[in-house]
């Protein structure tokens, strides 16, 4: 998992409330054998016509937001199914942080497993950042996990909360596997002992 420390980038404004995981990545893309490569189908049905042409109005199709790393979203982002394909698709597109007043629980947790930082802020803060987002590259937003702040283009900083353990994992790029890897000497020791005690195993 990629580390998350600080990013300064373009944010895409998506004020729609209740953006669900079906919108984020429709079910026909779950048959994939990959976690990667889903970015082109991110928001597929909002982003493309049935015959596969880009819908020019959709935010991520507009030149100003094609390089977005952040999404500023309406309430309850990520509701619906538990599919981990949703954060997989966001990450593959290049999104590293989503800011909203609220998130669906499973989606929120799935983000952390995949190196994405979901940030909950009060309505006024989200409104302020949404205005920045609408300005594209002219109003870049900075997300600083270490200091737990989001800084708007005008320098206004908003503090956010995050679980200490999740923060630790994300800052250090640790997923479960990464954490277990920290215990590799214990695994090595076990294997050595095991090879002696149960050489057939």
């Amino acid at each position: 998992m990629d580390k998350f420390t600080t990013i300064t980038g373009i944010a895409a404004p998506m004020p729609l409330v209740n953006i669900d995981t079906d919108m984020i990545i429709p079910k026909q893309f779950l048959k994939t054998i990959k976690r990667s490569g889903l970015g082109v189908n991110l928001f597929d049905e909002m982003r493309y016509t049935p015959d596969g042409k880009e819908i020019p109005d959709f935010v991520l199709n507009q030149p100003a937001w094609r390089e977005s790393q952040i999404i500023v979203a309406g309430d309850n982002f990520g509701c619906g199914s538990s599919r981990e394909h949703a954060p997989w698709a966001l990450l593959d597109f290049g999104i590293r942080s989503v800011i909203s007043t609220s998130f669906a629980d499973i989606f929120y947790n799935n983000c952390f497993k995949n190196g994405i930082l979901p940030i909950v802020l009060p309505q006024e803060a989200v409104d302020h950042l949404m205005d920045d987002a609408r300005k594209g590259a002219n109003a870049r937003i900075t997300v600083d996990l270490e200091n737990q702040t989001v800084t708007a283009a005008d320098g206004t900083a908003f503090a956010f909360e995050v679980d200490a353990f999740k923060k630790h994992c994300l800052l250090n790029g640790l997923d479960d596997i990464g954490l277990t890897m920290e215990k590799v000497s214990a695994i090595d020791a076990f294997e050595k002992q095991n090879a002696a005690a149960r050489p057939w195993a």
Binding site: R35, M181, Q193, N194, A201
Partner: protein, 477 residues
């Protein structure tokens, strides 16, 4: 690797657990070492992809065994071409991943290919006292050897590939004792279904089950695998049976079983794998072997079990949320409450799966079918659990008995057990099946599944309706 308190009596599960703890966190979460990791094509692609993206390797490729089974057609020609594109891509992905990461691999072109839970024991990968995982819920099958075996999710598959460990919290201990002898016509499948019927599909939730008692000891290894296979249908994390002389005899000489001095050392260790006198179980279920009848399922949950002599229940026979579920089952299955189960006509018979696709199952079914024909209008399919089971059945003349009776004799794979490959039921089609799940749509959209033993499925094949095997046995005597 030693127990927290070696003096205290321990269960079989406790012992295997204690011998695999690599690390314990303050909150009791353990890092458990995994001896065998079985892999199939459906739940592994993202895990391998995850390794690739993070530049990780498979920590123990020699303990990782991959085989395609869910998606593969069971007809000739599959070595060169699979029609369904998504299936083909998944199988090809396993091919590529297995070779790239250097894990043990049995491709469709290999005679040893088959259902992952049949291949593991057959090749001697599964041995007593091991921890065995697979991205598949029926991994419980391997518990028949006295190994701790259970299913895991795709993220965990990746975790095991990378670290050969799993982050786990220990389950509770449950004992299921089957006392005495089984009556004629009653098999391992009837035991396991009867236990689920008794405990419910959530009865084992939070537990690891140890099956014991005379009726379990009397079972062959094949029968014990059938029993453990369906522990998951009872909600348990795993099911296991203490190893004994039968277990050792089954393992001896298998390609990946230890030889010589290692074998002697292994057996000495395996003989310590039993539940100590006085060890604590959090839950106990006892069933008399003589009380178990040949059973079938009538509904769409494995707990919907009844003796074959019973009648289809009324939804109002149940209580609470089950009333609605029972009505839904009755409607889906197209049954009339009050009708005799033996009056339920079948359109198809499926003999196979990781529950009952081993040589003993085929022998049992063939013994009933010898010299008989499929009832008019009934289609029958026999799908050996592995290429080696298939070969052996051909050598023993069983394949001939099946084809003479009018059955299709297929190549190894999961086949109809779940509709991921071309073998499926048509909407409304009713099947007597030896598999393990009767969920809506499991064997094909709209398909209706009645679970039962191989001999009961064979009996239904002959008569064209659900049939009490004891009636057929009475005729043939």
């Amino acid at each position: 690797m030693t127990a927290p308190n070696p003096a205290a009596p321990r269960t079989l599960y406790d012992k295997i657990w204690d011998d695999h703890v690599v690390d314990t966190s303050d909150d009791g979460t353990c890092l458990l070492y995994i001896d065998r990791h079985l892999v199939h094509e459906v739940t592994s692609p993202q895990a391998f992809e995850g390794l690739r993206m993070s530049g990780r390797k498979v920590r123990a490729p020699e303990k990782t065994i991959a085989v395609p089974d869910h998606n593969v057609p069971t007809t000739e020609g599959r070595e060169t071409h699979i029609d369904n594109e998504e299936s083909r891509i998944q199988v090809n992905a396993l091919d590529k991943n297995a070779r790239e990461f250097g894990v043990v691999y049995y491709p469709v072109t290999d005679v040893r290919q088959g259902i992952v839970h049949i291949v593991g024991p057959e090749q001697g990968w599964t041995l007593p006292g091991m921890t065995v995982v697979c991205g598949d819920s029926h991994t419980a099958t391997h518990g028949a050897f006295g190994s701790l075996a259970h299913g895991i999710g795709t993220s965990e598959v990746e975790h095991v590939l990378a670290t050969q460990t799993l982050i786990q919290k220990k389950s509770k201990n449950m004992k299921v004792e089957i006392t005495g002898k089984l009556l004629p016509g009653v098999t391992a499948k009837d035991i396991t279904l009867a236990v689920i019927g008794e405990a419910g599909t959530a009865g084992g939730t939070g537990y690891v089950i140890e099956y014991c008692g005379e009726a379990i000891r009397d079972l062959s290894m094949e029968g014990r695998m059938t029993v453990c296979n369906m522990a998951i249908e009872g909600g348990a994390r795993a099911g296991l049976i203490a190893p004994d002389e039968k277990t050792f005899a089954y393992c001896m000489g298998r390609p990946h079983a230890p030889k010589g001095a290692k074998w002697e050392a292994a057996v000495a260790y395996w003989k310590t794998l039993f539940t100590d006198e006085g060890a604590h179980f959090d839950k106990v279920i006892t069933i008399k072997g003589e009380d178990i009848a040949p059973v079938v399922t009538w509904g769409t949950s494995p707990e919907d079990v009844l003796p074959i002599s019973a009648t289809v229940p009324f939804a109002t026979d149940f209580q609470g949320g089950k009333v609605e579920a029972a009505q839904r089952s009755i409607d889906y299955m197209g049954l009339t409450p009050g009708m005799k189960l033996t009056d339920v006509k079948v359109d198809a018979v499926f003999i196979g799966s990781c529950t009952n696709g081993r040589i003993e199952d085929l022998r049992a079914a063939a013994a009933i079918l010898k010299g008989k024909k499929l009832a008019p209008g009934v289609r029958g399919m026999v799908v050996p659990g592995s290429g080696l089971v298939r070969l052996q059945a051909e050598e023993e003349g069983l394949a001939q008995i099946f084809t003479d009776a009018g059955f299709e004799w297929r190549l190894a794979g999961c086949s109809m057990c779940l509709g991921m490959n071309p073998d499926q039921l048509a909407p409304g089609e009713r099947c007597a099946a030896t598999s393990n799940r009767n969920f809506e749509g499991r064997m094909g959209r709209g398909g209706r599944t009645h679970l039962m033993s191989p001999v009961m499925a064979a009996a239904a094949a002959i008569t064209g309706h659900l049939t009490d095997i004891r009636d057929i046995m009475a005729e043939t005597v």
